[in-house]
């Protein structure tokens, strides 16, 4: 696994990395030094999400120790916003003449996937899902199908960026909190909207466990615009299983009732939210899953990221991940410890 996020997740130890917080309602990634991963001449042309996405993918491949490239499947809700904005602007600015094609090429949602394939000389299956809060999750489903079909492993990830312009656009329809909120107080500050975030996370998935395996995915469910009853029933199916829950709770009072359904379905099971670490974005679920996988493998929680920590079970064997994106795309994933 590898992650570039608003926390120090790319290098070093996440169990000692200090908690990064913001008062701006907008989290930006802690960007690493890209030079060890991307040649300088390519780096110059690439915008932020391309660098973040490609570098995270390369680090993930490196970490997994896999030498033969396999299928690459990703999810991104918005792709390269910077390039999209730039090309829209230049069309007007230069009155549709003498345009530089680079931002157009890079704005294509599959451009990060193409770059990873190119860099790795990977001619296998390659797909990009672009469905808001189901982008990463469909990539995960596709990867699980590929493994069922016989692929030895997949490179599966997600990437997203927030720009000032997009932050403003989303503020016009009430996506973010109107008042500045300290990200550490996100869950106690219940009001409409949440805080924006971004990040890239990649996983190497295999069909059989390896000594490096973090966790096994043993349950997976996506629900589109479910009623509270349908959601409760789906959550209930995981009920006897989980001994810890990672939740996408984000302080948004408009959609808080879904997390109340979660509370009712799992009374007494400790919950750890993750959006105070990464903010809200289409593919934030990938960050939540990455955190859950770390916790289950290392049998510990990055305590410094949780000023108030609920009592944790002695052994963390099954972790339920539940997240939704603005109440529309709901995702449940059950992770199990690999013995």
């Amino acid at each position: 696994m590898a992650a570039i996020s608003p926390q120090d997740t790319f290098d070093g130890n996440i169990f000692s990395a200090p908690l990064v917080h913001t008062n701006s309602n907008r989290f930006s990634c802690v960007e690493p030094d890209y030079k060890p991963f991307i040649p300088a001449n390519s780096l110059r042309r690439m915008t932020r999400v391309l660098k973040i996405g490609l570098t995270t993918a390369l680090k993930c491949i490196q970490e997994s120790g896999i030498t033969t490239p396999g299928p690459i499947v990703t999810g991104t809700g918005k792709g390269s916003l910077q390039d999209t904005e730039r090309f829209i602007r230049e069309i007007v600015q230069y009155e549709e003449t003498a345009l530089n094609p680079t931002p157009f090429i890079q704005s294509t949602y599959n451009s990060v996937n193409g770059l990873i394939a190119l860099q790795q000389k990977c001619t296998a299956y390659n797909n990009t899902f672009v469905h808001r809060g189901f982008s990463f999750e469909n990539a995960l489903l596709d990867s699980m199908l590929l493994i069922q079909e016989g692929a030895a492993h997949t490179l599966t990830g997600a990437f997203e960026e927030i720009t000032a312009e997009h932050f403003y656009i989303k503020s016009r329809i009430g996506c973010w909190k109107q008042e500045p909120v300290d990200s550490r107080e996100l869950y106690t500050h219940l009001s409409p909207g949440t805080i924006a975030g971004e990040g890239a996370v990649f996983f190497t998935l295999t069909g059989t466990p390896t000594p490096q395996s973090y966790a096994a995915i043993s349950g997976f469910r996506m629900l589109y615009k479910p009623t509270t009853d349908k959601l409760a029933a789906a959550l209930q199916a995981f009920a006897p299983e989980a001994d810890l829950i990672i939740t996408g709770c984000n302080g948004d009072s408009n959609h808080a009732h879904f997390y109340e359904t979660l509370d009712r379905s799992f009374p007494g099971i400790p919950q750890l939210p993750f959006k105070h670490l990464c903010g809200e974005y289409d593919t934030a679920g990938a960050f939540g899953l990455w955190l859950a996988a770390h916790i289950i493998k290392d049998q510990q929680v990055p305590q410094q990221w949780y000023p108030t920590l609920p009592p944790l079970p002695a052994g963390i064997n099954k972790v339920l991940f539940y997240n939704h994106f603005y109440g529309e795309q709901h995702v449940m994933i059950l992770l199990e410890r690999v013995s």
Partner: protein
Amino acid sequence: MSERVFITGIGMITAIGDNVAGNLQNLRLQRSGLGYSSYIDTIYKSVLPVAEVKQDNASLFAMAGIPETGGYTRTTLLGMVAMREALQHAGITDVQSAPTGFVNASTVGGMCDTEKWYFDIINPEKEGDFIQYIDTLDCADCTQRIADIVGFSEHIATISTACSSSANALMFGARMIKQGLLPRMVCGGTEALTRFTLNGFNSLKNIDKQFCRPFDQQRTGLNLGEGAAYLVLEGETFARANNSRILGELSGYCNTNEAFHPTSPSPDGDGAYEAMKTALAMSGRTLDEVQYINVHGTATLNNDVSEGKALERLFGTEVPLFSSTKPFTGHTLAAAGAIEAIYSLLAIQHNLVFPNLHFSERMEELSITPVTELMEGQSVNNVISNSFGFGGNNASLVISKYEG
């Protein structure tokens, strides 16, 4: 053995027809949909030919059967028109009657409408109805609006792999059926013309000022088009139990990557070769059982050399009849794979091979030439349909006659 996947309904709208029958009629009449734009606000309106759907948004609302309200982009409307036909054709009055998934594809989502309002949207001093379009830019907007109207709730997904997007949507749907996740899937794509894509391809010097000439020595680029197409896919067990009318079989498919260049295929067509070869192997058909290939055939300098070389490598001196239907519909980007999958099915159903319009001179790099006249009465049992795109994405589908 896993489920066979059957096609049980088709629906489409393109520059040559508002439905499948209209498309078939104009394919037969060899009537191109290329011309100049009536709807896009661009300086290239009467300079760069495009294949525009011949309906304004008000007509599309009516055809889609939805009241004329804000927030519905042309991308959504085109998709909705094609969706209605596909469901009706498959005899589905209620998608909830059986668990049904929806895999949609788009390359620029609702850009067609947001690009008109973008500078108002980012201007704090501006307020107005344009706010209804504020969240329509991404590719999921059209998928969800269509899903909500129709009532899809089992599984929804959106794919964006440039010009291979809807071929990948069909592939993903077929794989979900084969693995028993859902018995029925509606898959395809929708794409509206935009100033964004027109300027994008024009900045790459990839657009022909004349009508495009695929596989021609004098080709100088593509023409963009718009449209939408969906295919209803059903697993064999479900289709039989449901007494579905089986139109054909999606018997093989493959997705590969060129890993060569961000916007160009490899000169020898390595990715195209692998995609066609593997898709055909999966279908269980041999090389000589392929009667027609609906090539990607964009008429760009690079695609046609690369794709042509791949055809020669795979089939040797026995390259089947092949043609690009892009001179009819323009290059409809994310919708192309699904539109051409339907054309492939029509070739099988009606014993037709469509002409590659505007061809006159064989490419110097190749020894093969496309079909230039409409061929009727051809026995067509297996068709390969190719869709290749930016990012090195290649997708080949094999569509076969249903033989019980």
